[in-house]
Symmetry: C2
Subunit: 388 residues, 2 copies
């Protein structure tokens, strides 16, 4: 309990490590990993595809890999009843969870089942809410290569990419953001090889933990890879834990206690959109002090509320986020003045640009907004993580 | 028939023009317009809101305002049976249609009914498919201010903005992209003033006509204002006609004949995504020659196929758009060598950037892709339209 496990919870038979695959010049995964035991694969009826459960490959993005009520919950079973019920329920959504592997298959397919019937939201398409997203790494950089369109709760299936170049390539497949994932399997061509998660090497193994609101949760990305923590994770080549809870990222003390158990590289706190100034004032200092007491050296980053897009024209809209950010900054200043080390603050000025087109509804970023948030936040996180 | 009317087809009673409203430094609408006759308004049950039909205000974005089977069709009734049935059916979608007005109301509401039950697509949210989008002009620039979320086919209603600053402001409301609009009404506070469409002044009155595929049609914008012709129209402060037809923008000769009747400022032909190289070779020259014969001085712009996002990694994907663009460029070269004047060509290189994250599915832009397409195409159109 409480360990940050990036590997599968299912103990898999290890075979000879695959060798001879490409290497990367940037800090990144060791591009070698044990093959998944072929005996774990299940042949399709026509024999052309072999399916592997993501749990046999090694999922990323979970804070807990043991003590779970469901393999793709974002909180352990013990959290139920301790944390607010809405957060517990939203923790069933697989935001940020992904599976990484290498394969020489000429095609990559997916089949997956969801936990809720509601596969889309009015302002977020089914591809983002309940779809899957495939990236491939090439010359040290991740690039999109396929989207799985969900059609129903159970039994979705899609060929995400075919005609792939020969040789081993490294892939990352993102799970649905705003639905639970009941089960997810990766399909490769019969006879191809698939490896377990190649990891990051010792220096980069600790994940970055993000905690926040619907925005962090991924609303309203067009597909799962576009949530801003996912973009940052790809760019920085570090694992990410997404603890976004729509309407419910409120710095609740029981959740602070839970995440304080995780040995992460950084805590990124992006809860303001779900809090009013008084609650921000009340909870920011206890949150930081609890995390600092449990993790004396782990950086803590406070993120300002996004600048609501109506704020450029409506004073009330601007006031609402400015007042929250004043409360957050005041708490930050008190903490810094009180001697709290390794505490950082990211202002919102650059989050949405200046064309007022970065959201779908004034609050929730579209893909433009998420890209700009990643652009604004990534450099700060790089600086934070480069300091010792 | 065949005239490009930007005003309502309903003859409205003109009252004293509103005076004293703001002026703009950039080329733009004459910020004066006749008030809509208050007798056209319908009071809400509680008396707080007065509703005006968009047709009484003056819609933009239609090539034809007379001879229509439905007020918000994009082709006249006579087209039925002459043009391919799928195009006729898709012409019921209100892509690009919008209504422009000035009001001093402290709030702007909308109620609208749709023509199809299907209010979303798997890769495009209901807000883009069937929603409405409100922009307001401030200091010479359009900025987003409200999105209407659709819930059902009939009887959607939303307050798009409230607490608006005092004084007259100019608004533009975009209709649903991928659904038909049965009826759309604008709601203002009881006692407020609303004007008819203020127009553009004589120099800018002719619309830019875009003809193309699902991409032009607006897939997959998060909301209607993000389709790339809409972005360009706002920036250039010119009216736009969107003739995007999902899967069916194929340079069909009967449609060439129809659009040749329209006195537009430019024809932008963006049909390649729905054509193979052979069809591009077959139809591009007749299209240009027909338009040039009918409109000796109107610029014609040929737009390359978007660079499919899988093309960075999959040769077959890259080949498919490169071959189309080779066919288009060859036709363009033959036409230029044949002496066709005012014919222009926009290459696709800058359409999607280089991060491979500009689409939802490799073909259809997300909002990032649409913004980049607008960035790439707008400067070319400005140059084209500045030449005499």
């Amino acid at each position: 309990m409480g360990s940050v496990a990036l590997r599968a919870i299912v103990l898999i038979a290890m075979t000879t490590p695959f060798v001879g695959c490409q290497t990367f010049s940037r800090p990144g995964p060791v591009a070698q990993a044990p093959r998944v035991d072929a005996a774990r694969g299940m042949a399709s009826a026509d024999g052309k595809t072999t399916w592997y459960d993501a749990l046999d490959i090694g999922v990323e993005g979970r804070g807990w890999s043991e003590g779970l009520k469901h393999s793709y919950d974002r909180f352990p079973a013990e959290a139920e009843g301790k944390i607010p019920d809405p957060v517990w329920n939203l923790s069933h959504h697989s935001a940020g969870i992904n599976v990484r592997f290498m394969t020489d298959s000429p095609s990559v397919s997916v089949r997956w089942s969801l936990r809720e019937d509601r596969i889309a939201m009015p302002h977020m398409p089914a591809t983002g809410v309940s779809g899957v997203d495939l990236y491939v790494k090439h010359e040290g950089r991740w690039g999109w290569i396929g989207t799985g369109f969900p059609e129903k709760k159970e039994g979705n299936e899609a060929v995400l990419a075919s005609g792939l170049p020969a040789g081993m390539h490294e892939y990352r497949m993102y799970f649905p953001l705003y639905n639970g994932t009941e089960k997810l399997e990766i399909g490769i061509a019969q006879g191809s090889t698939i490896t377990t998660n190649p990891g990051y090497g010792a220096r980069y193994e600790k994940p970055m933990l993000f905690w926040g609101s619907s925005i962090l949760h991924g609303a309203c990305a067009s597909r799962p890879g576009m949530a801003y923590p996912s973009i940052i994770g790809r760019r920085m080549e570090r694992p990410v834990i997404n603890l976004g809870f729509s309407g419910n990222g409120r710095m609740d003390p029981p959740i602070v206690e839970l995440i304080s158990r995780l040995d992460v590289s950084v805590y990124v706190i992006d809860c303001c959109p779900n809090m009013d100034p008084a609650l921000i004032t009340e909870r920011t200092e206890p949150l930081v002090k609890t995390l600092r007491a449990a993790r004396p050296d782990t950086p803590i980053v406070l993120v300002e509320n996004v600048p609501y897009e109506k704020g450029w024209f409506l004073d009330a809209s601007k006031d609402s986020y400015v007042k929250k950010n004043e409360a957050l900054h005041a708490a930050y200043t008190r903490l810094r003045n009180g001697g709290v080390r390794r505490l950082y603050y990211i202002p919102c000025d650059e989050f949405f640009g200046d064309d007022h087109d970065a959201t779908v509804d004034g609050v929730h970023p579209n893909d433009i907004g998420f890209l700009r948030m990643a652009d604004a936040i990534e450099p700060s996180l790089r600086r934070v993580l480069s300091r010792k």
